[in-house]
């Protein structure tokens, strides 16, 4: 399986290295570390919908990031708890996912949703790192993640909250899904 690990953390965590090593045994893993990438913020220009369909106007590491998403079988987004939600790095990355859908709108379960651009987008999972394990923040974060996924109609693998310690690798249900 081709797996992309979208590391959107602001700090370094040994457990992320462990996750990469663990998954690499049976899968081909790419792991863009967003804080080291040059990705411009979405400017809301809509060129990716109306001028160069599907393609972001930014020719920076956005290209590498989106290529690693659409060609993967699964993507795991990892973030810390930042003020009760995902980090700005993860949010910036999600904003740049907008070229992956079509501008046309339909109705799904009573709500407006965009049309698909890709026949199949990867399955998606998330890992939320919070040393205090704040359940309310985690619940809200995962709710947002699952709503964001409705846009891409991707299959939701699952979610985990960990403290970020190396030993947390044994607690991850998300990882078990891949073995």
């Amino acid at each position: 399986m081709k797996v992309t690990i979208m590391d959107s953390t602001l700090n370094d965590y040994k457990v992320i290295e462990k996750i990469i090593n663990n998954l690499s045994v049976k899968n081909t893993v790419t792991y863009p570390k967003l804080k080291e990438k040059n990705i411009a913020y979405c400017t809301g220009c809509w060129n990716c919908w109306t001028k160069t369909p599907g393609e972001c106007v930014h020719k920076d590491d956005t290209v590498e990031m989106l290529t690693s998403v659409v060609n993967a079988d699964a993507v795991i987004y990892i973030t810390e708890n930042s003020l009760g939600t995902m980090t700005s790095l993860m949010k910036k990355a999600l904003d740049k996912h907008i070229p992956l859908v079509h501008p046309y709108i339909t109705v799904v379960k009573g709500e407006s949703r965009h049309w698909d651009r890709y026949d199949q987008l990867p399955k998606m999972a998330n890992i939320f790192i919070d040393e205090n394990k704040n359940k309310d923040d985690y619940k809200l974060f995962d709710k947002h993640f699952q709503r964001a996924m409705l846009n891409t109609k991707a299959y939701y693998i699952g979610s985990d909250m960990i403290t970020g310690k190396e030993g947390d690798i044994n607690e991850l249900n998300t990882i078990k899904w891949f073995s």
Binding site: G44, W49, G54, L83, K92, D95, G110
Partner: protein
């Protein structure tokens, strides 16, 4: 009362948020400076304005079911000054391109949760759907919405919470009506996008998948 207005739109001066902030200032009745936070380079100035404010008011478009990344980055930097900000009042105005108000409920929760981390007092969060044509339509076509946004300005000036009538006017429709749903399934909301694609000579490649290997 010292009011700081934040424009959370990535489009900055050319945004629907900016149009609505101007309406709000009209209702406020005084000159008010709007701080764009669409680039990290503008954050320091906006943070200084927040530090000297009694009330911070943010208008923000819904991006991927939350706030734009730039706005989150702004809050992360702002949190370095948490102690100086404690007890100030903050208000949020969320608007979405999608017509139904309920699309913005999750962002309302996220923003109010952030406010809690800062120990801000929070005003009633305002939600408005179907905002995309605001900057393109003549004002005379959107009198009702303008009046409701101006009233937010009045409330801020008088040190009150946002009026229920403004909140209730702007949030409608909360859900898509049965008729709207049928119209949308038949592509009523695609007319604009189709027109734009055609204008740019991109209609025949509108389903391109450029990142696929």
């Amino acid at each position: 009362m010292n009011l700081t207005l934040l424009n959370g739109s990535p489009r900055g001066d050319g945004s629907n948020s900016k149009v609505m902030l101007k309406w709000l200032i009209e209702g406020y009745g005084k000159e008010g400076e709007i701080y764009n936070i669409n680039a990290v380079s503008k954050h320091e100035k906006a943070i200084d304005a927040c530090l000297s404010a009694d009330i911070i008011y943010l208008i923000v478009p819904l991006y991927y079911d939350s706030m734009p990344g730039q706005v989150m980055k702004f809050f992360e930097t702002l949190s370095e000054h948490k102690e100086q900000l404690e007890g100030k009042t903050i208000g949020f105005f969320i608007h979405s391109g999608f017509p139904e108000g309920q699309q913005s409920y999750t962002l309302k929760e996220i923003l109010e949760n952030i406010a809690k981390k800062f120990n801000f007092n929070v005003l009633t969060t305002v939600i408005r759907g179907g905002s995309e044509p605001t900057r393109l339509m003549p004002e005379s076509w959107q009198r009702k919405n303008k009046k409701a946004v101006m009233d937010i300005g009045r409330c801020l000036k008088e040190g009150q919470d946002i009026s229920l009538s403004s909140h209730n006017t702007l949030i409608k429709p909360v859900k898509l009506s049965a008729i709207t749903q049928i119209a949308m399934k038949f592509g009523a909301s695609n007319i604009y996008w189709r027109h734009e694609l055609k204008k740019n000579g991109a209609l025949n490649k509108s389903f391109d998948k450029p990142y696929l290997n």
